[in-house]
C-alpha cells in the first residue's frame, strides 16, 4: 500500500473519530453538573436565571444540548468563557500560541537532548559516563516538574537574577506586530532582534523545566533500544565491512534504535501539554494550561470542553504523524494491514 493512500484513508476516518471524541467530551463534562454557575451572580432573580438557561438551551434535553454545542463548534462558536469574559474563540488562539511556543521549545529541547543523551549513554554502556547520564535521566523522570520549576525559580530568578519571569518584557514587545502569536517568530518577522532575544530569554527556563521530564523518558528509551540494537548481527557486519565505530553508531544502530523511540516521542507530546498546566502557573506564562486551571476551578465548561476537544483532535493528528514517521523509518511496517 502506498504511503499516500494510507494517509488519505486515515484522513477519511478522522472526522468519525472526532465526532466520537466530541460526544465523550460533552458527556464527561456534563457529569460535573450544569454549566450555568459561571454565568450567574447573586443578584439574579429566578426569572433571569431561567432566561439565561433558555438562551444557552440549558432547559432542553442533553442530546439536544449536545446538538446545539456541536453546531456551534462547527460554526466556530465555542461558547462564552466566563473566566476571560469573552467568547472562547476569541481568546483561544492567543492562549494556544503561548502554549505552543512553550511546548514546541520544550519538545525541541527534549527530542534533541533526549536522543543525544540516550545515544551517548547507550554507546558507553556501563561506563561512568553512562551511569551519570542515567542518574540524570532517572531524576528527570521521577521529579515532579512543579517542584523542579520552583527550585529553578529560586536559584535563577530569586537568587541569581539571571532569568526573568512571564512571557516577555511588555515595553519591548509593544511595537512588535502580532502575526503568529508566537513572540519569538513575531519579533523575527518584524526584524526586532532585541525583542527576539528578550522572548528567547523568557522562554529558556520554562522550556527546560517542561522538557526535562520528557528528555529523561526519551533518553532512557533511546539508551535501552540502542543497547539492544548494538548487540545485533548487522552491527558486527557493519564493523566487518570496515566502518568506523562512529559510523556504525550513526548509520546503523541509531537509526534502528530510533524506531521505538519515535513512538515514545509521540506520547511525550501529551506529557508536555499536561505539564504546561503547572509550569505556566509557576512561570506566569499566559497560555492554555493556566487558563484551563482557572476554568476548572471556576466551572467554566465552555472553555474546558474546547480545550479537551482540541487536545483530543491534536492527539489524533500526532498519532497519524508518528505512524507516518514510523513507516518511513522502518520499511518493514506494512501500512493498512
Amino acid at each position: 500500500m502506498q504511503l499516500r493512500d494510507y494517509i488519505i484513508r486515515r484522513l477519511i476516518i478522522l472526522p468519525f473519530l472526532i465526532i466520537g471524541v466530541s460526544i465523550i467530551v460533552f458527556s464527561l463534562t456534563r457529569i460535573g453538573g450544569s454549566p450555568i454557575g459561571i454565568y450567574l451572580s447573586h443578584e439574579m432573580t429566578p426569572d433571569e436565571v431561567a432566561q439565561i438557561e433558555a438562551r444557552f438551551h440549558l432547559d432542553k434535553s442533553l442530546p439536544v444540548q449536545y446538538f446545539y454545542w456541536a453546531r456551534g463548534v462547527l460554526q466556530g462558536d465555542f461558547g462564552w468563557s466566563g473566566v476571560s469574559v469573552a467568547p472562547v474563540s476569541e481568546v483561544f488562539p492567543k492562549k494556544l500560541a503561548a502554549t505552543m511556543e512553550l511546548s514546541v521549545a520544550a519538545g525541541f529541547v527534549a527530542v534533541t537532548l533526549g536522543v543525544w543523551l540516550g545515544t551517548f549513554s547507550g554507546a558507553r554502556r556501563n561506563k561512568p559516563a553512562d551511569h551519570v547520564t542515567r542518574i540524570v535521566a532517572v531524576s528527570g523522570a521521577s521529579m515532579p516538574n512543579f517542584w523542579f520549576a520552583i527550585i529553578l525559580l529560586i536559584v535563577f530568578w530569586a537568587e541569581l537574577g539571571w532569568a526573568p519571569i512571564g512571557r516577555a518584557t511588555a515595553d519591548l514587545y509593544a511595537m512588535v506586530p502580532q502575526r503568529t502569536g508566537l513572540y519569538t517568530i513575531d519579533s523575527l518577522l518584524a526584524g526586532n532582534l532585541a525583542a527576539f532575544a528578550d522572548a528567547l530569554w523568557h522562554l529558556i527556563l520554562p522550556a527546560i523545566t517542561l522538557g526535562y521530564g520528557a528528555t529523561a523518558i526519551i533518553a532512557r528509551m533511546m539508551r535501552s533500544s540502542l543497547v539492544e540494537e548494538l548487540q545485533q548481527d548487522y552491527v558486527d557486519a557493519a564493523r566487518a565491512k570496515g566502518l568506523a565505530e562512529r559510523l556504525v553508531l550513526k548509520k546503523h544502530a541509531r537509526r534502528n534504535a530510533l524506531i521505538p523511540t519515535v513512538t515514545v516521542i509521540g506520547l511525550t507530546f501529551g506529557f508536555l501539554l499536561q505539564g504546561t498546566v503547572a509550569i505556566e502557573i509557576i512561570f506566569r506564562w499566559p497560555g492554555l494550561g493556566k487558563w484551563m486551571a482557572d476554568s476548572v476551578l471556576r466551572g467554566d465548561q465552555a472553555t474546558l470542553m474546547t480545550y479537551v476537544l482540541f487536545t483530543s483532535v491534536l492527539f489524533l493528528f500526532v498519532n497519524l504523524i508518528v505512524d507516518i514517521v514510523y513507516a518511513n523509518l522502518d520499511r518493514r511496517v506494512e501500512l493498512g494491514k
Partner: protein, 438 residues
C-alpha cells in the same frame, strides 16, 4: 609446548604454499559469574594461500569465537584476548603481470606485500618470510578498520540478521566501496584525483554538517551525482558477480523483501566486493534451505577460485566440509584436536572425537536407529583442569588422559593430532583404539 610442530611449520612455510594467516596459541576467555570461561584455549593453525580450511566442531567449541578474532569482532568485555596471535599477510595485485598471472606470482595474479621492515630479506617481524606480517590482535583500530572488509571479510550465519533492516541493499553494499575504494570511485566518476573537500567526504561516507547543502548546489550537485552513479555501477557489478537476477532493481529493495538465499548472496557480494585475501565464512548456509545451500556453496567456491582468496569455513556440518574444504581442523572444547588434509582426516581420523563425529554422520547405509551419538556433553570450560578435554566422554581413555593434557603433535607431514593414542603419554597407560573403556 608446540615446539615440534612450529619448527615443522616454519620449514613448510618456505617450501610449501605460503600462508595467508596463522593463528598461534590463541586464547580467548570470557568473564562469567561462575568464573573465567576458556572459550578458546591455545588454538594454532595456518591458512594457506588460496585454500579452504574447514573449522568444524559442535556448538560452543569456540570455532565462531576463533573466526571472529580474525576481525577482532568479540565483545570486550566480557571477552578477554588472553594471549596468542593471529597474524595476517596481506596481498596486492602482482605488478609484473597486473593480475594476469605470471611466474613471479605463481600464476595467481596476486603477491604478498613485501615486509616493510626488512624489504623482503626475511626478519623477525615477518617470521623470515619476507612478506608483510600483521598481528591482527595488536594493530591499532584504524589499521584494523582498513583491513576489515577490504583484505579480510566475513560472511555471517544468518543473513536475515546480518543486514540492516532500515537500509536498502544498494546502500549497504555501497558502504564497502565508500570505506575502501574512494579513489577508484572518484576516478570512475571522471573527477580529478585531487578532488577534496565535501565531494571526497561524500565518496568516503564522511558526512559533515553543511555538506548536504553544499553538495545540493551547482556545480557540486552534478559531481555528486556522478560519484553516486559510479557507486551504483560498482554495487551493481558486485551484485552481478553473485548471479542475482536484475541487480540494478535489487539495489532499491530492503532486506525483508528478499529470500534467505538472495540475502546471503548480497552478503557474499558485500564480503567479496574488495577481493579480500581471506574470507571468514561463519556457517553461511546454516540458516538456509538445503536446496539453496548447494547453490550458495557453489557460488562461494566459484568466486574463491576466480579471486584466489583463502577461506576459513566454519561449520558443524561434516559432510559439507568434506565437500568443499582442502584441509580441516577439528575443534573440541576450545582446542584444535586434529588438523590435516580433508581426505586424510576423513579416511584415517586419529582422534577419538573426530571418529565419534564421523560415526554420528548418517549415510545412506546407516540402518534406522543406527546413529552413533557421542555420550556425555561438552565439559564446562570454567577453569579447565590439566587433562585431555575429551576425557570423560572418550571410549579409549586411560588414567594418563585424566592427568595430562595432550598437545597437537604431527602424525604425518600434513596431519597433526592432540591425543596420546599416537604420542606417548608422559607416564601411565597408553590409550589405544583397540581397548575400549566403559
Amino acid at each position: 609446548m608446540m615446539g615440534h610442530l612450529e619448527t615443522d611449520m616454519a620449514d613448510a612455510v618456505r617450501t610449501a604454499p605460503a600462508t595467508v594467516a596463522s593463528v598461534r596459541d590463541l586464547k580467548v576467555h570470557f568473564a562469567a559469574k561462575r568464573g573465567v570461561v576458556h572459550a578458546v584455549d591455545g588454538v594454532s593453525f595456518d591458512i594457506r594461500d588460496g585454500e579452504t580450511l574447514g573449522l568444524v566442531g559442535e556448538t560452543g567449541c569456540g570455532k565462531s569465537v576463533t573466526g571472529r578474532s580474525f576481525l577482532r569482532l568479540l565483545p570486550v568485555p566480557p571477552g578477554i584476548l588472553a594471549g596468542g596471535s593471529v597474524t595476517f599477510r596481506p596481498h596486492a595485485l602482482c605488478e609484473d603481470c597486473d593480475g594476469a598471472g605470471c611466474d613471479a606470482c605463481g600464476c595467481t595474479g596476486r603477491k604478498a606485500v613485501v615486509c616493510p621492515s626488512c624489504r623482503g630479506q626475511g626478519c623477525a617481524t615477518c617470521d623470515g618470510t619476507g612478506a608483510e606480517t600483521i598481528d591482527l590482535l595488536k594493530i591499532d583500530t584504524e589499521t584494523l578498520r582498513k583491513l576489515r572488509g577490504d583484505r579480510v571479510a566475513m560472511i555471517f550465519q544468518d543473513p536475515g540478521k546480518a543486514l540492516n533492516p532500515t537500509l536498502t541493499i544498494g546502500q549497504q553494499v555501497a558502504e564497502v566501496f565508500l570505506q575502501h575504494r574512494t579513489d577508484e570511485l572518484i576516478e570512475l566518476a571522471g573527477l580529478s584525483p585531487e578532488t577534496g573537500g565535501a565531494l571526497r567526504r561524500f565518496a568516503r561516507q564522511d558526512h559533515r554538517f553543511g555538506d548536504g547543502i553544499l553538495l545540493s548546489l551547482p556545480p557540486f550537485r552534478g559531481q555528486r551525482r556522478r560519484i553516486q552513479a559510479a557507486l551504483d555501477k560498482m554495487v551493481a557489478r558486485a551484485l552481478a558477480e553473485t548471479q542475482v537476477p536484475n541487480p540494478a532493481s535489487l539495489m532499491d529493495r530492503y532486506p525483508h523483501e528478499l529470500s534467505g538465499g538472495m540475502r546471503q548472496r548480497v552478503m557474499i557480494a558485500q564480503a567479496l566486493a574488495c577481493n579480500p585475501d581471506l574470507l571468514i565464512a561463519d556457517e553461511p548456509t546454516t540458516a538456509l534451505d538445503v536446496t539453496v545451500e548447494a547453490r550458495i556453496l557453489e557460488l562461494i567456491r566459484d568466486l574463491q577460485m576466480r579471486r584466489r582468496s583463502s577461506v576459513l569455513y566454519i561449520s558443524h556440518d561434516l559432510s559439507l566440509v568434506r565437500r568443499i574444504c582442502d584441509r580441516v581442523a577439528v575443534m573440541y572444547a576450545g582446542r584444535v584436536v586434529e588438523i590435516g588434509p580433508t581426505a586424510e582426516v576423513f579416511r584415517n581420523p586419529r582422534h577419538p572425537y573426530t571418529r565419534g563425529l564421523l560415526a554420528a554422520v548418517p549415510t545412506a547405509d546407516t540402518p534406522r536407529g543406527g546413529l552413533a551419538a557421542i555420550k556425555g556433553t561438552v565439559p564446562e570450560l570454567v577453569d579447565p583442569p590439566a587433562a585431555c578435554r575429551f576425557a570423560g566422554r572418550c571410549r579409549h581413555e586411560t588414567e594418563a588422559c585424566r592427568r595430562f593434557d595432550p598437545t597437537l603433535e604431527p602424525v604425518s607431514e600434513t596431519h597433526a593430532v592432540a591425543c596420546f593414542i599416537d604420542h606417548p603419554a608422559p607416564e601411565g597407560d597408553q590409550p589405544s583404539f583397540e581397548r575400549i573403556t566403559e
